[in-house]
Symmetry: C2
Subunit: 184 residues, 2 copies
DNA sequence: AGAATCATGTAAGGGGTTACATGATTCG
DNA sequence: CGAATCATGTAACCCCTTACATGATTCT
């Protein structure tokens, strides 16, 4: 049953199914809402169907066909226990690289809100720790390059600046937390 | 001859060939140098050969085989007039999206240094203008979302913060310019 | 009556990675 | 004498995008 392992953003889709079973087209409409995740994650309809199929193949989702006369039957997905566990883990785990922040961390945050402020705080705290490690790394590399290799120095300085901005934003995030979070 | 159009990072490779003809393996070694571009752009050997082939197909490079007994002959590439023009344009053109900054802008800067401080200044100035536009956009979107849609607000605030960090870094860059630039 | 929506996908292609292939030569 | 280097690539696979396919139903 577990044919393959799910890549990280794939798991985000589990958030749509979490709580109530949903069919693909239904998720597609929610993803198209400009007030929702669309500002962060733009996924094509065909890609959505492909990812759902893969999550089923992986064993995180099961589907049942709901016929409805005339139209093609809805393929309604629900979480398996493995899927539920994977989602609960995903939503608490910070991203490992700065390049995942923009897309994946914001998506985690989007779903974490529904789980209440405790989860949001956990996520933000852990991400902050991770960012601090990155920052130290880049600062170390800056020193290493120093004036002798000015280009390398600038490269690491750039990255350090981006991470600093992430940290500042995480602080702002933590302040807004009460507004962001759903039911505690 | 012009079979296809070159994607943007592809053009970066022209920088290696600019000035003196080079063969693939030679470029590969330079790309592997940790003190050089490797800190920014990591490209696999097979991918390098594929890109060079594509640039030739596009008409930006021509190659001549240099036999050398025993070993496979070196395929030495040189810029065509179109390639030269494309490179000169590429090196002056700022990147259009924030997501291209980390990889592509830094690569432009890497090569621009060799062209002298005037080119570097041009590039930085234009990129600064572009970033300022992005920043205004994001700030506008922040206001639009305001307190009513806190998640959207945070998303745009995140992006604004990243762009602010880019602008700060560009200023630092401009200051270091004399160290960075090659012969004026 | 014609357009958009509902609901599922498949096919083709672009771009990248990993792994493999080849065969001489120089280094330790 | 074995390992790394020189120098070129090809093949298989993954992921995503764009475009196309289907066919009823509801909106204007």
């Amino acid at each position: 049953m577990p044919g393959r392992s799910a890549s990280s953003l794939e798991l985000a889709l589990l958030g749509f199914v979490y709580g109530e079973p949903r069919h693909g087209y239904d998720i597609y409409r929610e993803l198209s809402d400009p007030e929702g995740l669309r500002a962060v994650w733009r996924i094509k309809q065909s890609q959505l169907y492909a990812l759902l199929a893969r999550l089923e193949e992986t064993g995180y989702l099961t589907s049942t066909l709901m016929p409805q006369g005339g139209r093609p039957p809805r393929k309604v997905f629900r979480l398996t226990p493995e899927g539920e566990a994977a989602y609960q883990d995903w939503i608490r785990r910070p991203v490992e690289h700065g390049r995942q922040f923009r897309l994946e961390f914001l998506t985690k945050l989007f779903f974490a809100r529904r789980e209440g402020s405790a989860i949001v705080e956990t996520l933000i705290d852990r991400q902050r720790s991770a960012c601090q490690v990155w920052l130290e790394e880049q600062r170390g590399l800056m020193d290493e390059a120093s004036a002798a290799r000015p280009f390398l120095h600038l490269v690491h300085r750039y990255r350090a600046g981006q991470v600093e901005a992430m940290l500042g934003w995480l602080d702002a995030c933590a302040d807004t937390i009460t507004h962001l979070a759903g039911p505690a």
